[in-house]
């Protein structure tokens, strides 16, 4: 049944990917401006521009171009950047890990702050601790990530400069040999704790800035779901049977409330990818989102399509993972599905 769920989700995702690819393919080409001219600059001659257009099949009809694109994609070729003249897949491979590292750490911060804040708020509902928790959550929700970025830079990078505010490592720190592209992991694999700490040091501010919005959303949702659960007979039962309050908050009320929260948690996690680009901009983070914005501004056709597809794929994978987790964690679904 897990496999059935997985299969149907994969099928749906494939259809979504095809739709997105057509859409972004068309939109990128319909946008005003000649990509060849932008790539070559104002000083290039008309012949040079025409040659580049011909080389990249830009004068072919759209459906034909799309067909060529799909054919290339089937051997993993995402085309070539008009600007760097490198394969788009090489660019993406260079920039994606930085974004994923940021997003994964940010997602962890989001969950590890949001869930307990919501749970504690719910436990002390109506009291001062709850008010504080709700205020924190609200601030998180209503302040955009890049504003958090600037605020954190000012407070912890400038007035009280305990964190670096640009890049992934100090200039003096050597980049660890690439295994995963995650500096945190690569530095540990290479056995360089100093690099690890430096990477972590650089990662904290952007990851927190990115996390706070989703953190607020998760905290609010956890709180309201848990307050609902606190009204259920099984929580009164837990109290009547002497379960310790701490066990009730962290387990007997938390888990039933977490099941519906998990779906939203997954969506928020995926949304981090979308929010990452302004944070990457603010923190000079060499990630894919920033790359995406740059290529859009340069109208770098294949790069735009490639970046959007990769981000969409990450989104869809995230959704599938969440669906599977929901199936696994909810005993009702898990057991009802085992029977068929």
């Amino acid at each position: 049944m897990i496999w059935k769920t997985l299969y149907s989700r994969l099928k749906a995702s494939l259809i979504v990917m095809i739709g997105i690819s057509i859409l972004i393919f068309a939109v990128a080409r319909v946008m005003p401006g000649d990509p060849a001219r932008i790539a070559l600059g104002a000083n290039a001659s008309a012949e040079q521009v025409a040659a580049l257009r011909a080389d990249r099949h830009l004068d072919d009809p759209l459906p034909l171009q799309y067909w060529e694109f799909v054919k290339a994609l089937s051997h993993g070729d995402l085309g070539k950047s008009l600007f760097t003249n490198r394969p788009v897949s090489t660019d993406i491979a260079q920039f994606l890990p930085a974004t994923l590292e940021l997003v994964v750490v940010s997602g962890l911060i989001m969950a590890l702050l949001g869930l307990p804040i919501g749970a504690i708020s719910a436990h002390f509902r109506g009291r001062a601790i709850d008010q504080i928790g709700r205020l924190v959550a609200l601030l998180g929700v209503c302040t955009p990530a890049f504003v958090w970025g600037v605020i954190l830079q000012l407070l912890l990078g400038y007035f009280w400069p305990i964190f670096p505010i640009q890049g992934r490592l100090m200039d003096a720190t050597p980049v660890p040999p690439t295994v995963t592209g995650f500096y945190l992991l690569d530095s540990l694999i290479a056995g360089e704790p100093g690099t690890f700490l430096d990477a972590l040091h650089h990662l904290i501010l952007p990851a927190v800035a990115l996390a706070l919005g989703g953190m607020g959303q998760v905290a609010r949702l956890t709180r309201s779901n848990m307050i609902e659960v606190y009204g259920k007979p099984y929580v009164e039962m837990a109290e009547a049977y002497g379960f310790r309050p701490w066990r009730i908050v962290s387990r007997y009320a938390f888990v039933p409330a977490f099941i519906p929260t998990l779906t939203i948690l997954g969506l928020e996690f995926a949304a981090l990818l979308g929010n990452a680009f302004l944070v990457e901009k603010v923190f000079g983070w060499p990630g894919l989102s920033r790359y995406g914005v740059d290529v859009i501004l340069r109208k770098d056709l294949d790069a735009i399509v490639g970046t959007v597809l990769i981000i969409a794929a990450a989104f869809l994978i995230m959704n599938i993972v969440v669906d599977l987790l929901v199936t696994l964690i909810n005993p009702r679904i898990r057991l009802s599905s085992r029977r068929d």
Partner: protein, 295 residues
């Protein structure tokens, strides 16, 4: 005589901080070890709140004002707090109206049972806890205890869940068991089984049982003594036989007079509310509260 296991004296309860509504106006009752006592009254008369106060549960919501005294197993519980909290699940236990919704849907019976056992013995090993849980389930005639432990509440029948809950309630050998309309959400056979179990318990272990009900038929069959509650006041207190043969309070009389008209033994709806329903409490001979006996 020894001190009653549960002694509630002049209990008053007011809900709300600003918009106050008074729900209990001086309830007194007691239950001794091995006794089966019933609290009957119509819907909204204050039965459940009395039970939840006795367990110290309602006090924790922080939205209530309580006056009077509740002594449970020698502990003063009216104000709530740590002492009564520590008795819960060990010296006092409660069984609920709908067992299926009173068991946590996200955990197997096994985990919940371990938690219950560990309220009395925090260091209990998993294996020891499971062995005791199986024994406790066998005691309430659950055919395959190991399978029940591995199940979630929604996989078991209502009757099974009821037994599971009773087994949990009894697992730590409480001296007081409060049953708030046990099994009324379930069918009649399960209700009857539940009462049978509780009767055994009172007889063999000397557990004090407070049964809350609005079913006069059940009360007549089960209880040694009966308190009739009307709008937050005890209006009559008698031995069961006395109450049914010689009801003296106008409210009780009206109830008993109305009984033959209905089937199933539920509490009849009294369309006419006479002002003399609010008459003072009537206590039958030999039924005075312990503290009223002393000069």
């Amino acid at each position: 005589m020894t001190e009653p296991v549960l002694a509630i004296r002049d209990l008053e309860l007011t809900f709300g901080r600003w918009r106050r509504s008074k729900v209990l106006h001086g309830v007194s009752l007691h239950v001794r070890a091995g006794e089966k006592v019933a609290l009957v009254g119509e819907s909204g008369s204050g039965k459940s709140v009395t039970a939840r106060l006795a367990m110290g549960l309602l006090q924790e919501t922080g939205n209530v004002d309580v006056a009077g005294s509740i002594r449970v197993d020698g502990v003063e519980a009216a104000a709530g707090g740590r002492q009564i909290r520590r008795l819960r699940g060990r010296r006092v236990a409660m069984i609920f109206q709908d067992p299926t919704s009173a068991l946590n849907p996200a955990f197997r019976i096994r985990g919940q049972f371990r938690e219950v056992l560990r309220t009395a013995e925090p260091g209990l090993s998993d294996r020891e806890a499971d062995a005791r849980a199986e024994a406790a389930l066998a005691e309430v005639s659950i055919p395959d205890p190991a399978r029940a432990l591995n199940s979630y509440a929604f996989q078991l029948s209502g009757g099974m869940n009821q037994r599971v809950m009773i087994a949990m309630a009894l697992a730590n050998r409480p001296s007081l068991l409060i049953a708030d309309e046990p099994g009324t959400a379930l069918d009649v056979t399960v209700q009857a089984q539940t009462l049978e179990l509780m009767r055994d318990l009172a007889a063999t272990r000397g557990t004090a049982v407070l049964l809350i009900s609005h079913n006069l038929g059940v009360v007549r069959e089960f209880a040694d003594r009966v308190y009739v509650i009307y709008r937050g006041r005890i209006v009559e207190h008698a031995r069961t036989a006395q109450l049914f043969s010689d009801p003296r309070h106008p409210y009780t009389r009206a109830l008993l007079a109305a009984i033959p008209k209905i089937s199933g033994g539920g509490l009849p709806d009294l369309p006419e509310r006479s002002p003399d329903f609010e008459n003072p409490r009537i206590v039958h001979e030999g039924c005075a509260e312990p503290w009223e006996l002393r000069p």
